[in-house]
Amino acid sequence: MKSIGLLCLLLLGLGGCSSGTWGWYVIDPTTKSGWVNIKFLISGMGDTILISIIAAAISIVLGLIVALPGQSSKRGWRIVNRVYVEFIRSIPLLPMLFWVFYGLPIIFKSMGLNIPIDPFWGAIITLAVSDSAFTAEIYRSGIQSIAKGQKEAAQTIGLNYAQTMRYVILPQAIRRILPPLANQFIYIVKMSAFASVIGMQELTRRANELVVTEYRPLEIYSLLIVEYLILVLVISAGVRWLERRMGSDERL
C-alpha cells in the first residue's frame, strides 16, 4: 500500500520535470514561499483529524443506542430503529450539513434557545448522525452473528439483558465489527472534506483558499489528495494492529 503512494508521488514529480503543465514551485519546500504554503496546507490536518475522531466516537455510541432497539422483541422498538436508519441514511451528507449549519439554529431560536452552531460542531454533528445509521447496521450484523446459545447461557447464569450485552455479546461482536467500523472511520475522514463548505479550516478548505491566491489547483489539489492518502494509510495500519491484538485474545 505504501509503495503505491510513493509511486503516485513519483509519477506526479516526474510529470513536473517533463513538461510545463506543472508548477511545483508553489509547494516547493526548498523555497521560502513554497514552505510557507506547505505549512499552511498541512496545518488543516489537525482539524480534519479532530473532527473525524470526535464524529466517529459519537457515531460509535449513537450507533449502538440506535442498534439495540432493533434487537428488541417488541415491535415498537424495532420500528423506531428502522425509521431512524432508513431516514438518516437516505439523506446525502451535503444537504444534511447545510440543514444542520443553517437550519438548526433557526429551530433553536424559535424554541427560545440560544445555541450557536459553529462550523466545528456543525460538521461533527452532521458527520456523526449521518454515520450513525451505518454504524447501527454494523452493530446489528455483529450482534446477530453471535450464536443464540451465548445469550441463553448468559441467561442461565442469571445475567439480565444489559449484563448479557455488556459482558457476553458485545465483547464478541466488537471483534467481528472492527473491520467494518474501521471502514466507516475512513469514510468519515474523507467526508470531513465537506466541512470546508461551511468554513471549517480543515485540509480541503486550506487547499481551496490557497488555490484562490496561487492559481495552482493541479499541484495544490494533488498535494491534498496525498494528504488524505497518508491519513488513510496510517489509519489502516492502526486498525490492522488493533485487529491482531484483539484477535490474539480469542484463540479460537
Binding site: T156, P171, L252
Partner: protein, 246 residues
C-alpha cells in the same frame, strides 16, 4: 424428603402451528434424577427449555418450588439463576478464560466479591477434575473438558436443580465417559437433575425415573428396571430396540 422441586401440569406448547408439547405432566422431587429420552424431534429438549424459561409454554402450569412460572421478567431472572443448565454445544463464552466464565454469574448476577467467586470457581473446577485449566481459554480445551467447565459454571451459581440438554451428544466417544462420571458424582451428592440423554447406561445407573417421549407426548414413565425390562408401549420397545442393539 420428597418435596416437589419441579411440577409440570398439562403443559402445551406450539411452534407456530406445530404442536411440540402435548399435555405434559411431570413431577420431579427434590433430590430426584429424571432422565428424558426419545427419538429426535420428540420435544424432550423443549420440555427442559420450558422449565428454565428459555422457551415459553402457552398452556398449562409450571411450578418450581411451588412458585408458578410467569412472564414477570424479575421472576424469570431469579428462576434462571436457580436452575443450572448444561447445553449440548457447551456454550462457554469464548472470549473469557475458564475462570472468568465461572465467576461472571456469581459476581454480576449475585454481587459476590471477586475473591469469593474465585474461591468457589476453583472448588468446582477441582470437583469436575480440571483444577489446572483455570487460566486457559475455552478454545484450548477438549470437548469433554469444555463440557465439564460448563457444568462447573452452572454449579458456581449453586442451583437447586440442574438441567442437562443432551450433554454428551456433541462429544467424541472417548470423552463421553469423563463427562458422565462427573454427572454421576453430582447425582450421588443428591443434586436434583433432569437429563435429556441417549446414554442408557447412565440412565440405568442414576435415574430414579425414566421418561420416554415421542411426538410431543410423554408415552411412558417408569423406574429404570421396569423401563428396560418391561416397556409397555410399542413405540418405546421400538426405540429401545434401536438404541440398544449395538
Amino acid at each position: 424428603m420428597s418435596k416437589t422441586a419441579i411440577e409440570l401440569v398439562d403443559v402445551n406448547k406450539w411452534f407456530g402451528s406445530f404442536h411440540v408439547l402435548k399435555n405434559i405432566n411431570l413431577t420431579v422431587d427434590t433430590g430426584e434424577k429424571v432422565v428424558i429420552c426419545g427419538p429426535s424431534g420428540s420435544g424432550k429438549s423443549t420440555v427442559v427449555r420450558c422449565i428454565n424459561r428459555l422457551e415459553e409454554h402457552q398452556k398449562g402450569t409450571i411450578r418450581l418450588d411451588g412458585r408458578e412460572l410467569t412472564n414477570d421478567p424479575k421472576s424469570i431472572a431469579s428462576i434462571q439463576g436457580e436452575i443450572g443448565m448444561v447445553f449440548q454445544q457447551f456454550n462457554l463464552f469464548p472470549h473469557l478464560s475458564v475462570l472468568e466464565n465461572l465467576i461472571l454469574g456469581p459476581m454480576k448476577a449475585r454481587g459476590q466479591s471477586r475473591a469469593d467467586a474465585v474461591e468457589k470457581a476453583r472448588h468446582y473446577l477441582a470437583r469436575v477434575r480440571i483444577p489446572d485449566q483455570a487460566d486457559k481459554m475455552p478454545g484450548q480445551l477438549s470437548g469433554g473438558q469444555q463440557q465439564r467447565v460448563a457444568i462447573a459454571r452452572s454449579l458456581c451459581m449453586e442451583p437447586k436443580v440442574m438441567l442437562f440438554d443432551e450433554p454428551t451428544s456433541a462429544l467424541d466417544p472417548e470423552m463421553i465417559s469423563e463427562v458422565l462420571d462427573v454427572m454421576v458424582e453430582l447425582a450421588l451428592d443428591g443434586m436434583t437433575m433432569v437429563v435429556v440423554t441417549h446414554e442408557m447406561g447412565f440412565a440405568r445407573k442414576v435415574a430414579d425415573k425414566i421418561v420416554f417421549m415421542d411426538e410431543g407426548e410423554i408415552v411412558e414413565h417408569a423406574a429404570p428396571d421396569m423401563f428396560f425390562s418391561q416397556p409397555k408401549s410399542e413405540r418405546c420397545r421400538t426405540f429401545l430396540g434401536q438404541i440398544l442393539q449395538h
